[in-house]
Amino acid sequence: MKKRKNTPPYIMLAPSVVLMCGLVFYPILVTFTYSLQQMKLTEPQNDKIVGFKNYQMILADSNFWYSFLNSIIILVGVVILTVVIGIAFAMLLNVNTKIKGVLTAAAIIPWALPPIVNGVMWRWIFHPSYGFLNRLLLRCELIEEPVQWLSNRFSVILIVALVVAWRNIPFCAIVLLSALQGIPSHIYESAAIDGSSTGQMFRKITLPLLMPSLGIVVTSTSINAINVFDEIVSLSGYGDVSKTLMMDAYLRTFNFLDYGAGSAITYIIMIFAGILGLLYIRNLYREVNYL
């Protein structure tokens, strides 16, 4: 390209840069300064800079570790469910049939819906007295009493993981599907000539070639899983049982009006999200090379 004056790029970028700086990057820095202060709306006269005291207080709080464990279980659950079911869906959508259009539409719907409404709908699958699952189990006489799915800590967070996965699976399936379609068929043909079984082809060809896309899917799903909030609200409200790190940050800030501690937890979440973000960038830049 010829050498030209370099003003146009900067003018075009200006609106986005200004908005992002004003409403994203600057507030992120301010949040950090909040996290170093004692800042409770309930006792504004005591506001002062306390260094890393908020962080120390949080890390010594068993509440934090409770939420932390919930978040980790949700993260692992979401990733496993999304990847396993996502691969299965991608392979299903890769089969050429007349109903392909219907299947794609069905696959993409959960991704498009409001997460808060997803939680509301799934609540009625697991509701103790009006839920579908208990009715089915009672009908089949597999249980005698309705199971309280939404009151037990671990069953609630596993249900949250399932509902979050439900919304992430379409993304996973579509990304993997486009990767599957990019694998040249001659690779499978030569493998078939060499006498490989379907299972061998999946393990030796499909899976390795899907790895770069899986990297993207896993990191972006993890980012979503760390930030989950909406589904928790609609499945179990703002209660303590199913509290995650994000919910903890929200409650400390907007219920207990402790901005300092809320900001500190937010920064702890950001460290996790930031690591995942770096992995995401690395995965995105990794090239796929076919033979």
Binding site: M1, R4, P8, P9, Y10, M12, L13, P15, S16, L19, L23, V24, P27, I28, T31, I85, N94, V95, L103, A105, A106, A107, I108, I109, W111, A112, L113, P114, I116, V120, M121, R123, W124, I125, F132, R135, W166, P170, I174, V175, L177, S178, S213, V217, I226, N227, V233, Y238, M246, T253, Y259, T266, Y267, A273, G274, G277, L278, Y280, L284, E287
Partner: protein
């Protein structure tokens, strides 16, 4: 992939398709059934799966009634629509203006900017919301539609810009060169040469922006607590968290809220799939 069709593989395939559909659409169908079940049939020891006297009373109530709850519900729908359209009108031109130079023009700092952009996608909205909340209170922007929309735009700008960049990156350099030789300005070239061939991805980005705005919950929960801006997602959640006992109404409220995104997903699935797959590649 070509495979021999045996009876076994056919049954296996059919079973897989059925499971797939049940998993994707089952919860929606069940919620719909709940929404047409009269309150009287819901109480007590029920183990049936379909109401004896289905009724659309809950839908009528939410869409036509003049009582407070229904009025607030419809207001929520209107608020979400307004927010979504405003986000599109401001957000998409901004994203295009940002993505074009980052993909097609060489300037200092473009690589750094790309990485910052990607990294920003990982940052939770909550990291910005506490100062924004304080700022919005002091600027009297709480419950202000434009103020809310600006925050929405920043929350999905990185993703939208990335989507456009990865598409622009695939266009051949020669496209613009002829226009530059003729002396066209960069803005003119973008408008007349690049945009016309990019409409599918711009359309996909617009759909995604619409869906994302419609689905927002955490941001408006904090920045739009008043009825004048509260979107449908927050209104629908209050049916659950404020312990309404009318479960049929709760489900109808959810079902209506998911009709616009579901229609978009069904009608424009090809564009959306292109958008989803496109944004996840290096381009």
């Amino acid at each position: 992939m070509k495979r021999k069709r045996t009876a076994g593989s056919r049954i296996g395939y059919t079973a897989a398709v059925v499971l797939f559909i049940v998993f994707c659409l089952g919860p929606i169908l069940w919620s719909f059934i709940m929404s047409i079940t009269p309150q009287s049939e819901m109480m007590g020891e029920v183990t049936t799966f379909f109401p004896e006297n289905p009724t659309f009373g809950n839908y009528k109530k939410l869409l036509l009634d003049t009582e407070q709850q229904a009025l607030l519900y419809r207001r929520g729908i209107g608020n979400s629509m307004k927010a979504a359209l405003l986000s599109l009108l401001i957000g998409i031109p901004m994203a295009v203006l940002c993505a074009y130079p980052m993909s097609r023009l060489k300037f200092k700092g473009s690589v750094v900017m790309r990485n910052v952009l990607l990294f920003t996608m990982a940052i939770p909205v909550f990291a910005t919301i506490i100062p924004l909340y304080k700022l919005y209170i002091s600027l009297r922007l709480l419950n202000n539609l434009a103020g809310l929309v600006l925050v929405y735009i920043t929350s999905f700008l990185p993703m939208t810009v990335w989507l456009l960049i990865s598409y622009f990156d695939t266009l051949p350099q020669e496209l613009e060169e002829a226009a530059y030789v003729d002396g066209g300005s960069k803005f003119y070239v973008m408008l007349k040469i690049i945009l016309p061939v990019s409409y599918p991805i711009i359309f996909a980005a617009s759909l995604i922006v619409f869906l994302q705005t419609w689905n927002q919950f955490q941001i408006p929960l904090i920045l739009a607590p008043g009825h004048e801006t509260k979107p449908i997602a927050v209104v629908a959640s209050e049916f659950v968290t404020k312990s309404t006992v009318d479960y049929g109404l709760m489900n109808a409220g959810g079902i209506i809220a998911l009709i616009p995104p579901a229609i978009i997903a069904i009608v424009f699935r090809k564009f959306l799939i292109q958008g989803i797959a496109g944004g996840s590649t290096k381009g």
